[in-house]
């Protein structure tokens, strides 16, 4: 094809917006002189429907096989022209767009300089067109089994949601039974169910679902492959077995660490963590008319969860037991999902809220808890230390990722985000997503979250997996980088640089080099950033639409002035 490249150049004056600043004529006359340019046409409004049909005809008539559109280059128009190429029987990647409108006309005055720039941009676009390459579609066979790691609420929900979309599910749980932390909670915000009942219902639904294979006492030991074709090694009682799965969902949750020392307290029956309180309430402990102090905000500010739980339980203790509840806080984070109302309700119900900054001292004395604190609001009028006596003190636990999260991250080849939870801090990436396609997060392993969010999260992930693995064969455009095996020295540079774990070293006779091996980019896992192509020391990797040739010829087409 290289030898009979026939380029068609289509100018669009964008209803005069472009020609107002740049004359096409001198450009067109220069362009016509360029080799391989077989056709040049100017139009008023190239993205009009009729024009599209005309381009189609001209392509056929003039046997054009590279199209340059000189006008704009926004995504919408690009889509339109790609369609046109398709209709004309050309691969849609044989299109080069020159953005005269935004890069020249809209930002420069009409002048000799802007005219020169317009010509140069056009020449660059044509030079690129000369080096365009076709990109084909591929049918990738995929495994439609989903591996869910963790048998807590998040794992159960995910298993149910993915199973409901027709996937086979393997749910692994490292403990001997399903349920996770939910079994230890008294009540869930935003969910009317009793947690124990909810749990029972979910476990029942999961265990009775024939498409969900539950394996307890099982951990993920190792992982290979990519989306649609992972090989997972399970470890159960020291024995390893492998299974093929197409997607993986981590739902490993959070753990709490009770740390009274942080508040200057030791272990005592009346020093209670929020989780312990949940347990006591669920077991039916009576707090009638008790005096209860709740402290919140000393180093727990990274997440909303501890604040909301504190308010929830304050309200509950007040209402159910008519207890005297005093909440000492540095900050109240109740933004979102009707929690503000819960806070207002708590105040209305007679829960007292006291703000402190740094100065709080908690002393356990003869079964009584004494809180001494300085109130920053009252400091001006009533300076000094206030003393509040209670029967119990409730303090928040530390929230840290579940045990083994580090290890799992290594197996999954993921980097951990803030506070060592799985979610990365990046506006482009949803909390459910990871740096690797085919590996998703549900629940508190992202970062501590609420039960009602878990359901949404599970649905999102199930839907995402459904989108990605909708059939046993997935059709995808093979725009992932390709490797010239004759240049690949399997040095692993790309493998180590790929942020998406999308590269593997493959072996086989088809790789014509000394090693019969080459790096290969998985079309489903690759996100087309091109980092690998730029790192490759052998220049073996090229990213379609952005090959080195396509970029460097644009530079070559530039004029050099001393």
């Amino acid at each position: 094809m290289e030898n009979n490249t026939r380029i068609g150049v289509f100018f669009c004056n964008c209803n005069g917006k472009i020609t107002e600043k740049v004359d096409f004529e001198p450009i067109a006359s220069e362009v016509k002189k360029l080799p391989k340019v077989e056709y040049v046409r100017e139009s008023q409004n190239l993205c009009a429907h009729l024009e599209g049909e005309l381009i189609c005809k001209e392509i056929t008539k003039n046997q054009l096989n590279r199209i340059v559109v000189v006008g704009c280059a926004s995504a919408k128009e690009e889509g339109f022209f790609k369609e046109v190429l398709n209709k004309a029987g050309l691969n849609s990647h044989l299109l080069s767009m020159v953005n005269l409108r935004e890069e020249c006309c809209a930002v420069h005055e009409k002048s000799a300089k802007s005219a020169a720039k317009a010509l140069e941009l056009t020449k660059m676009g044509i030079a690129r067109a000369n080096n365009l390459e076709e990109v084909s579609f591929g049918e990738i066979p995929v495994n439609r089994t989903v591996l869910v790691i963790g048998g807590g609420l998040a794992g159960l929900e995910t298993a149910l949601e993915t199973a409901a979309r027709g996937f086979k599910v393997i749910l692994i749980e490292k403990e001997d039974k399903l349920g996770g932390r939910l079994a230890r909670v008294n009540s869930i915000i935003g969910v009317d169910h009793n947690p124990a009942d909810l749990l029972e219902e979910k476990v029942k639904a999961v265990t009775s679902n024939p498409t969900i294979d539950v394996r307890t006492n099982t951990k993920l030991g190792d992982l290979d492959g990519n989306i649609g074709g992972f090989t997972a090694w399970f470890v159960k009682d020291g024995v390893e077995t492998s299974v093929e799965v197409g997607a993986i969902v981590a739902a490993t949750g959070v753990q709490t660490i009770f740390c009274p020392v942080k508040y200057g307290l030791g272990i005592a029956d009346n020093v209670i963590g929020q989780m312990k309180l949940e347990r006591l309430l669920a077991d039916g402990k009576d707090f009638t008319h008790k005096r209860i102090s709740i402290v919140i905000g000393k180093g727990t500010e990274a997440f909303n969860l501890p604040f909301v739980i504190a308010v929830k339980n304050a309200l509950l203790l007040r209402k159910k037991f008519n207890a005297t509840v005093n909440v000492f806080y540095t900050n109240i984070k109740v933004g979102g999902d009707n929690w503000e109302k819960m806070y207002t309700d708590a105040r209305g119900a007679g829960v007292n809220f006291f703000k402190f900054e740094d100065n709080i001292e908690i002393v356990a004395n003869n079964g009584e808890i004494i809180v001494n604190y300085e109130d920053p609001f009252l400091k001006g009028k009533m300076p000094g230390v206030f003393k509040v006596i209670a029967d119990y003190i409730v303090i928040p636990e530390e929230l840290v990722p579940a045990e083994g999260t580090d290890e799992l991250a290594k197996i999954l080849r993921l980097e951990l985000g803030p506070a060592s939870f799985f979610s990365v801090d990046n506006a482009h990436i949803l909390p459910e997503m990871t740096s690797r396609d085919g590996i998703y997060l549900v629940g508190s392993c992202q970062s501590p979250c609420f039960a009602n969010e878990v359901e949404i999260s599970a649905k999102t992930v199930a839907e995402e997996i459904f989108q990605k693995l909708d059939a046993d064969q997935v059709s995808t455009e093979l725009t992932q980088p390709y490797v010239d095996a004759t240049k690949c020295v399997v040095c692993l540079t790309c493998y180590r640089c790929c942020p998406h774990g999308a590269i593997t070293i493959e072996h086989g006779e088809q790789f014509k080099n000394l090693y019969f091996s080459a790096a290969q980019m998985n079309p489903l896992a690759c996100r087309r950033c091109g980092i690998c192509a730029s790192e490759c020391p052998g220049k073996a990797i090229q990213l379609p639409d952005y090959t080195d040739d396509q970029i460097l010829v644009q530079l070559e087409a530039m004029e050099v002035l001393p």
């Binding site: 020295v489 692993l492 640089c497 490759c536 020391p537 052998g538």
Partner: protein, 226 residues
């Protein structure tokens, strides 16, 4: 693998000062893997040289080529037609490739473009560390798979010397004390008592000290029985 690093540009520019047209010749072997002399580095260096010489007002024409391996004559044979038209070759191969190149083209000046540094491992992208000195007689069986010849600053066989502290070498606090590594590894394997035995004086004749080495395997030679 052989680890190399590009020479300082001034040195290279000095070599090329009297030439107008040079071939920058990359190698697809070790130097590509260690990011010193593959096709990418050839391109970058070519561009850098062209710019530097333009700046001096004495343009340099740079021809670029990367071959499979410069340490094999057959591969060099394939570029004879390119070599013919240049004043000199700047080879980005290791010392072996540079010499093979010079031997293949006896009438052409061949300049070294890299310093061949050591035989080592790629710890991560951009990080390499020495692992072997090709001493010709491996002692790794006695040292828990950690080489005292390559990795101890004094290449001692009955270490660690008195400069070992906190597992680091006195010569460079960023370098692990090889003998501390050996000790710890053998301790982990339950074999530390083997270190109580004095390791014998080494026969360096297998090493470079025995003169330039050559390996001939008659069982493999094409014309056997000679």
């Amino acid at each position: 693998m052989i680890i190399a690093e590009r020479k300082p540009i001034d040195e290279i520019l000095g070599f090329l000062s009297k030439h107008q047209k040079v071939l920058v010749l990359g190698c697809g072997g070790c130097v590509t893997v260690c990011l010193a002399g593959g096709e990418k580095e050839v391109g970058i260096l070519g561009s850098e040289l062209a710019m530097a010489r333009s700046k001096e007002g004495r343009p340099l024409e740079v021809v670029q080529k990367t071959i499979e391996r410069q340490c094999d004559f057959e591969y060099l044979e394939g570029i004879r037609h390119i070599v013919k038209d240049v004043d000199a070759i700047l080879s980005l191969a290791c010392g072996i490739g540079i010499q093979t190149c010079a031997e293949a083209f006896p009438d052409k000046i061949v300049w070294p473009g890299v310093n061949t540094k050591f035989l080592g491992v790629n710890l991560n992208v951009g990080v390499w560390a020495e692992r072997c000195q090709a001493c010709g007689q491996c002692v790794l069986d006695k040292t828990g798979g950690i080489c005292p010849v390559a990795r101890c600053s004094k290449s001692i066989f009955n270490g660690p010397c008195g400069g070992s502290q906190n597992g680091k070498c006195e010569v460079d606090p960023d370098t692990d004390c090889a003998w501390a590594l050996i000790h710890d590894r053998l301790a982990r394997l339950g074999e530390v008592d083997s270190l109580r035995e004095i390791m014998a004086i080494k026969d360096w004749s297998f090493s470079r000290d025995g003169g330039p080495r050559k390996l001939v395997r008659e069982d493999l030679e094409l014309e056997s029985g000679k």
